[in-house]
C-alpha cells in the first residue's frame, strides 16, 4: 500500500513540477504525503460546511419569532444564509423578518428535498434498500426475519431519507462556495493533472468534514471509438480519481461506476462537445 501511495504521489509531484518554485514543490509534496495537513492552496472547508446539529428537524416560524436577534444570526450562519444578513456597524440585525422568512424557506427546501428522496427510495426493492443502508453504515437499523426478508421497510426508508437530506444540504454548501463536481480528461486518457488533484483534495476535505457522506464517482467517455472500450475507459478514469482519494483513506466510502459514452452532457459531434463528455462526476449520496 505505502509503495502505491509513493508511486501516485510521485506522479502527481512530477506532473506538478512545471510552474512552481522549489519551496512550493517541497510543501506540496509533503502535503501529499501527509494528506491530513490541509494543503495550502485549498480552502479549509471545516468552518463553512453546514453541520446539521438540530436533530429535531428545525424550527417553525413561531419558534423562530421567539429567538433573539443574535440567536437568529447564529442560526442563519449555521444554515448558510450569511449573505442574507444585513447588519449595522455594531453588528445588530437589520432585517429580522426577512431572515426569519429565509430560515423558514430553507426548512421547507429541506422538506421538499426529503419528499423527493423518499419517493426515490420508495421505488426501490427491499434488497436495494438493504444494500444502500449497508453502504451508508446503518446496518444496525436493518431488521430481517429468519428468511432474510426486510421487516421494517418504512423505518429504514425514513432513516435513509434523513441521511440523504443531510448529504444533499452539505453538498449544496460545497456547491455554493464554488466546489467543482466534474473533472475532465484528455482523449483516451486517465491522467489526473495538478488542477484536477486540487479538486480531488477539496473533495477529500469535504468527505473528512462530513463523515456520513458517501461518494459515487461516475466515469464517462466521449463518443469516439467503440462503446465497450469506452465503458472500460470511463471506469479507469473514475478509478484514477478514487486512487487519489485512497491517499486520504477514503476508499471505503467511494464507489466507482462507468457509463462509457452512454450519457453525454453535450450531444453534438465536435471537439467542444467531446471535451465536456470525457469526464468524471462526483455524486454524493
Amino acid at each position: 500500500m505505502s509503495k502505491k501511495i509513493l508511486l501516485i504521489t510521485s506522479v502527481i509531484f512530477l506532473s506538478s513540477c512545471a510552474a512552481t518554485n522549489i519551496q512550493e514543490l517541497g510543501d506540496k509534496f509533503l502535503d501529499l504525503i501527509n494528506p491530513s495537513d490541509a494543503p495550502a492552496e485549498v480552502a479549509d472547508l471545516s468552518e463553512q460546511v453546514l453541520v446539521l446539529s438540530d436533530e429535531s428537524g428545525g424550527f417553525t416560524e413561531e419558534e423562530l419569532e421567539t429567538l433573539s436577534n443574535d440567536e437568529l444570526i447564529a442560526l442563519a450562519k449555521e444554515k448558510g444564509l450569511e449573505d442574507k444578513l444585513v447588519l449595522d456597524a455594531d453588528g445588530n440585525l437589520q432585517n429580522r423578518d426577512e431572515i426569519i422568512k429565509a430560515l423558514v424557506e430553507s426548512e421547507a427546501l429541506s422538506e421538499s428535498l426529503k419528499e423527493g428522496v423518499t419517493e426515490e427510495l420508495e421505488s426501490l426493492s427491499n434488497d436495494a434498500l438493504i444494500e444502500i443502508a449497508q453502504a451508508k453504515g446503518i446496518e444496525d437499523k436493518i431488521i430481517l426475519d429468519e428468511d432474510g426478508n426486510l421487516q421494517n421497510r418504512d423505518e429504514l426508508i425514513e432513516a435513509l431519507v434523513e441521511g440523504a437530506a443531510e448529504t444533499e444540504l452539505a453538498v449544496a454548501e460545497l456547491e455554493k462556495i464554488g466546489g467543482s463536481f466534474v473533472l475532465y480528461f484528455a482523449y483516451d486518457d486517465t491522467e489526473i493533472d495538478e488542477a484536477a488533484t486540487r479538486v480531488i483534495i477539496e473533495h477529500a476535505n469535504f468527505m473528512q468534514n462530513n463523515p456520513s457522506v458517501r461518494l459515487r464517482l461516475e466515469g464517462h467517455a466521449d463518443e469516439r471509438g467503440t462503446r465497450e472500450y469506452n465503458l472500460a475507459l470511463g471506469e479507469n478514469r473514475a478509478l484514477s480519481v478514487k486512487e487519489v482519494l485512497g491517499l486520504y483513506n477514503l476508499e471505503d466510502r467511494v464507489v466507482v461506476v462507468s457509463y462509457g459514452e452512454e450519457q453525454p452532457i453535450e450531444i453534438e459531434h465536435n471537439e467542444e462537445a467531446w471535451e465536456k463528455n470525457r469526464r468524471v462526476e462526483f455524486v454524493y449520496y
Binding site: 469516439r224 462503446r227 465497450e228 472500450y229 465503458l231 472500460a232 471506469e235 466507482v256 452512454e262
Partner: protein, 426 residues
C-alpha cells in the same frame, strides 16, 4: 475490393408500411448484379395476403447486393417466352402462385427457370398458415439465393438492435428490439429508462445476452425472447460487467469483468456457474468475440498503450496480436468462416468499418464514414451490419461484401444502434 465512390448512387424507398418501424433505403451499386425477374404471384381464390410475397422476395434479393431483381407486367406462366427474357438480359425468371385451401391455410407454388438453358432449376409446393406469409417469403428468398448463386442467403434470420427515443422533457427511452432481417415485425423485448447495449444472439437463437444499466451499473443479462422462460441471472460482479459474447455451444458466455478495477475477459458457464479467467493483463481487455469453432477469441486491448486487436488460442493459451495497421483497432467480430475479422479502424479522426484478413494481415477499410460502430456479419458472411451516424442521427447500415452496396435502416423518431445478426432459424 471496390471502393464506395465507385458506386452509382440512387435511393429507393422500399418499405414504409405501418408495421415497419425501420425505414429501408438502398444506396445501390449496379456492379456485378445478377439480373432476375420475380413476377407477381398469381392469386387463386381469396388469397390476397399472398400478394406481398413477390415484393418481399424482390426487396430481399435487392438488399443483398447480389441481385437486380425486377418485377414485370407480363403474366408469367409455365409457358415461358425465353427469347423475350433473353432480349431483356435477364438471367433467371421466378414466378409462382398462391391458392387458398381454407380460411387460414394457403398453398404456395414457386418455380425458378434459367433463361439461357431454358431449364427448370427449382419447383416447390408449400402449405403455409396465413400468419407465416412473411416468414415463407424469407425462406423462399434463401432458396432462390442458393439456387442461383450456390450460396446460402441470410434472409430467414433476425436482427436485434437498440433504439433510443427522447421525450420533450428530455427523458430517454431505450428499447432492445428484434425484427426480421428486413427490419419488419419489430418487437420490443426490453424497455428501459437506462442505457442498453451489446445485444448478442446465442447460436441457437433462443437466448439474447445484453448489457443494461438498470441498476445504475453495467450488468449482463440473458433473456429468452421467444420462450416463456425466466431470464438467466448472472452473479453480481464488482465493477463493470459487460461485452457478452456467446460460445458457439450456447452454454457459456465470454464477458468483461473489472475485478479490483482490472478489466479482463472471463468465461462464465451458465450450467456449472463456473467463472474462468481468459485474460490477465493489467491493461483494458474487452470486446471478446468467439471464433466460429469456439477455439479462440478475438478481443480489444490497450496493453501496448494503443488500442489494438488480439487473438487468444484457447487450446494453447497463446495470445497473438492481430492488427498492425493504424493506432486504433477495436470491436473485432469473426466472419462465419473464421478467416476474417470485421472491426472498427481509426483513419485520421474517423472511425471506420474495416475487414482484416487474419492470415495475411491485410486490412481493408470499407466505408468513408466518421463514426462506425458495432459490426456484425450476416450468417452467410455476405454482409456486415453496423451502426453509424448520418446527419447527426444514429442509423444502421448493411454493407454487401460482394460490391459494397449499402442498405440503410433508419428509425423515424430517434436513434437506432447496436445491431446484431442472428444465426439461421431452425
Amino acid at each position: 475490393m471496390k471502393f464506395l465512390k465507385a458506386l452509382i448512387l440512387f435511393s429507393v424507398l422500399l418499405s414504409l408500411s405501418a408495421n415497419a418501424l425501420l425505414e429501408v433505403n438502398i444506396i445501390k451499386s449496379k456492379e456485378e448484379l445478377f439480373p432476375v425477374v420475380i413476377a407477381p404471384f398469381e392469386i387463386i381464390g381469396d388469397a390476397h395476403q399472398g400478394a406481398d410475397i413477390a415484393n418481399i422476395i424482390r426487396d430481399n434479393l435487392n438488399r443483398s447486393g447480389q441481385f437486380n431483381a425486377l418485377s414485370t407486367n407480363e403474366l408469367v406462366t409455365n409457358q415461358i417466352d425465353f427469347n423475350f427474357w433473353q432480349e431483356h438480359k435477364k438471367d433467371a425468371v421466378v414466378f409462382g402462385k398462391i391458392e387458398q385451401v381454407s380460411s387460414k391455410v394457403f398453398n404456395i407454388y414457386i418455380y425458378i427457370y434459367d433463361v439461357f438453358s431454358e431449364k427448370s432449376l427449382y419447383a416447390k409446393k408449400i402449405a403455409v398458415h396465413n400468419s407465416g406469409i412473411r416468414r415463407i417469403a424469407h425462406y423462399l428468398s434463401d432458396k432462390i439465393y442458393y439456387v442461383l448463386l450456390g450460396q446460402k442467403g441470410s434472409f430467414d434470420t433476425r436482427l436485434s438492435y437498440v433504439t433510443v427515443s427522447e421525450s420533450k422533457q428530455g427523458n430517454r427511452t431505450y428499447r432492445l428490439q428484434i425484427s426480421d432481417s428486413d427490419g419488419y415485425n419489430p418487437q420490443t423485448v426490453v424497455k428501459s429508462a437506462h442505457p442498453i447495449l451489446s445485444p448478442s444472439w446465442s447460436s441457437d437463437q433462443n437466448k439474447l445476452a445484453y448489457v443494461s444499466f438498470k441498476n445504475n451499473r453495467s450488468e449482463v443479462f440473458v433473456i429468452y425472447p421467444f420462450l416463456k422462460i425466466k431470464p438467466i441471472k448472472l452473479p453480481k460482479f464488482d465493477g463493470i460487467a459487460s461485452s457478452p459474447s456467446w460460445h458457439p455451444s450456447g452454454e457459456s458466455i465470454a464477458l468483461t469483468i473489472s475485478k479490483k478495477g482490472n478489466k479482463d475477459i472471463y468465461l462464465y458457464n451458465l450450467k456449472t456457474k463456473e467463472l474462468k479467467r481468459l485474460t490477465t493483463n493489467i491493461a483494458i481487455d474487452t470486446e471478446a468475440n468467439f471464433s466460429p469453432d469456439g477455439k479462440s477469441i478475438a478481443f480489444t486491448s490497450n496493453r501496448t498503450g494503443q488500442v489494438q486487436i488480439y487473438i487468444k488460442n484457447l487450446e494453447t493459451g497463446k495470445i497473438n496480436r492481430a492488427t498492425f495497421k493504424g493506432t486504433y483497432n477495436a470491436k473485432p467480430v469473426f466472419s462465419p468462416d473464421g478467416k476474417e475479422l470485421a472491426l472498427i479502424h481509426r483513419v485520421g479522426k474517423d472511425y471506420r468499418l474495416a475487414l482484416l484478413n487474419i492470415a495475411t494481415r491485410d486490412l481493408t477499410v470499407l466505408t468513408q464514414n466518421k463514426s462506425d460502430e458495432s459490426p456484425y456479419f450476416s450468417p452467410n458472411g455476405g454482409m456486415i451490419i453496423f451502426a453509424t451516424n448520418q446527419d447527426n442521427k444514429g442509423i444502421l447500415s448493411i454493407i454487401s461484401l460482394h460490391n459494397n452496396q449499402i442498405v440503410e435502416l433508419t428509425q423515424k423518431d430517434g436513434v437506432v444502434r447496436e445491431p446484431s445478426w442472428s444465426n439461421y432459424s431452425n
